[in-house]
């Protein structure tokens, strides 16, 4: 009797797998036999490009156009900022690769040299990494700090994306001017 029950359970399970569950083998079903019909409708989906970045921890403010400002005035007195990470999300327009640029909003005072370097790449997210090797001497002229890259996202927060390291040569112990900022731009 047990065997009959088992056989019935197996048979009914097979039936349910074929017809009663929420998954259908489209090619394996005969609509003429089982009744029913099939229609396909053409559809379009419009997806926008996106390009945003910020620097974590969130000391800076996100502005329109994907520009991030990182306050760099205070660190001259209290020590350079450490453990800063660039996060970005990028989806290209017309397959155009993006770069990340860095510049300052004011001239670096004469006698001072402020540099930034990417020293580590985070393992989060999914992105093709292509950082510039070596230090970038900061000025008001935009310079590439991450070379051409395609679609991707770094993950959010400290430990994701590109880790930045600032160094400062300041033999005269000057201060950076009030409102001095380092600007990162993706584009």
């Amino acid at each position: 009797m047990k065997r009959i029950v088992i056989i019935l359970v197996i048979a009914l399970s097979s039936f349910n797998a074929a017809f009663g569950q929420d998954v259908l083998d489209v090619l394996g079903v005969n609509l003429l036999l089982f009744g029913g019909d099939r229609k396909a409708i053409s559809t379009t989906v419009d997806i926008l490009p996106v390009a945003i970045l910020d620097v974590e921890p969130e000391d800076g403010a996100l502005l329109s156009g994907g520009v991030v400002e990182q306050e760099a005035g205070m660190p001259v007195l209290t020590g350079l900022p450490e453990n800063l990470w660039i996060n970005f999300t990028y989806r290209a327009s017309n397959f155009q690769p993006a770069r990340i640029y860095v510049s300052t909003n004011q001239p670096v005072p004469a006698g001072m040299v402020l540099k930034v370097e990417i020293v580590q790449v985070g393992a989060n997210g999914s992105f093709p990494n292509n950082p510039r090797a070596g230090e970038v001497i900061l000025s008001q002229t935009e310079q590439v700090i991450v070379y051409d890259f395609a679609n991707g996202y770094t993950g959010d927060g400290v430990g994701s994306g590109y880790k930045l390291k600032y160094t400062l040569e300041n033999p005269n112990s000057q201060s950076l001017p009030v409102g001095f900022q380092v600007i990162y731009r993706i584009g």
């Binding site: 998954v23 559809t43 490009p49």
Partner: protein, 200 residues
């Protein structure tokens, strides 16, 4: 052993017979066919994937109807129209959906809501029964009416809703989650509806 085989054969024959009783019908799908992401639908936090936010179509982007085909009356050799056929023959219809050639790194989901659409015909004798065999002629969205991800395998479809009896004007809404890895721009693909009848 013979008895077991007979049982299985009998069961199998019963199922086949039940399914062969389903009358042919016609599925009709109409509606706009575009799902568009706006700037408000984009990810706001740098570093996050764009698929943490989603964008939806109109609630009735597609409108689905399914009615039984006219039948040839064997006695009079006249045609019994769809309305009369739907009035006299009540089946359970399951609607499965999948996509063909959907863009990579994009998730397409679909849903409708409980009792969406209209019974066809509007009122029939079956509705007045105290214990109708298949239950009331309602529409039941699968998984409680939440969005269901549509497979893009070309072979596998998932049930999105089912209804009892013929039904018209069923609205279907879509939601899209596009990863940052997806290609921007306009992509064309197909949404495929498969209706399957059952007497159970």
């Amino acid at each position: 052993m013979k008895r077991y085989i007979l049982i299985i054969l009998f069961l199998n024959a019963s199922i086949s017979k039940a399914r062969s009783q389903i009358l042919p019908g016609t599925l009709n799908v109409t509606g706009a066919s575009s799902i568009t992401q706006t700037i408000d639908d984009l990810v706001k936090e740098a570093g996050e994937d764009d698929n943490v936010v989603s964008f939806e179509s109109e609630i009735d982007t597609n409108v689905v109807s399914y009615i039984l085909d006219p039948l040839l009356d064997p006695l009079t050799l006249g045609l019994i129209d769809s309305e009369a056929t739907c009035r006299a023959n009540i089946f359970r219809f399951s609607v499965y959906m999948h996509t063909n050639n959907a863009p990579q790194n994009v998730v397409i989901e679909a849903k409708t809501f409980f009792n969406a659409g209209d019974r066809y015909p509007g009122l029939i004798a079956y509705d007045l029964l105290l214990s109708p065999l298949l239950g009331p002629r309602n529409l039941y969205p699968w998984r409680g009416g939440g969005y269901i991800e549509l497979p893009n395998s070309g072979r596998r479809a998932v049930k999105v809703f089912e209804f009892i009896g013929c039904r018209t004007n069923i609205p279907v809404q879509f939601r899209v989650k596009a990863s940052s890895l997806a290609v921007s721009g306009t992509e064309n693909f197909e949404i495929v509806y498969t209706v399957l009848g059952s007497v159970l």
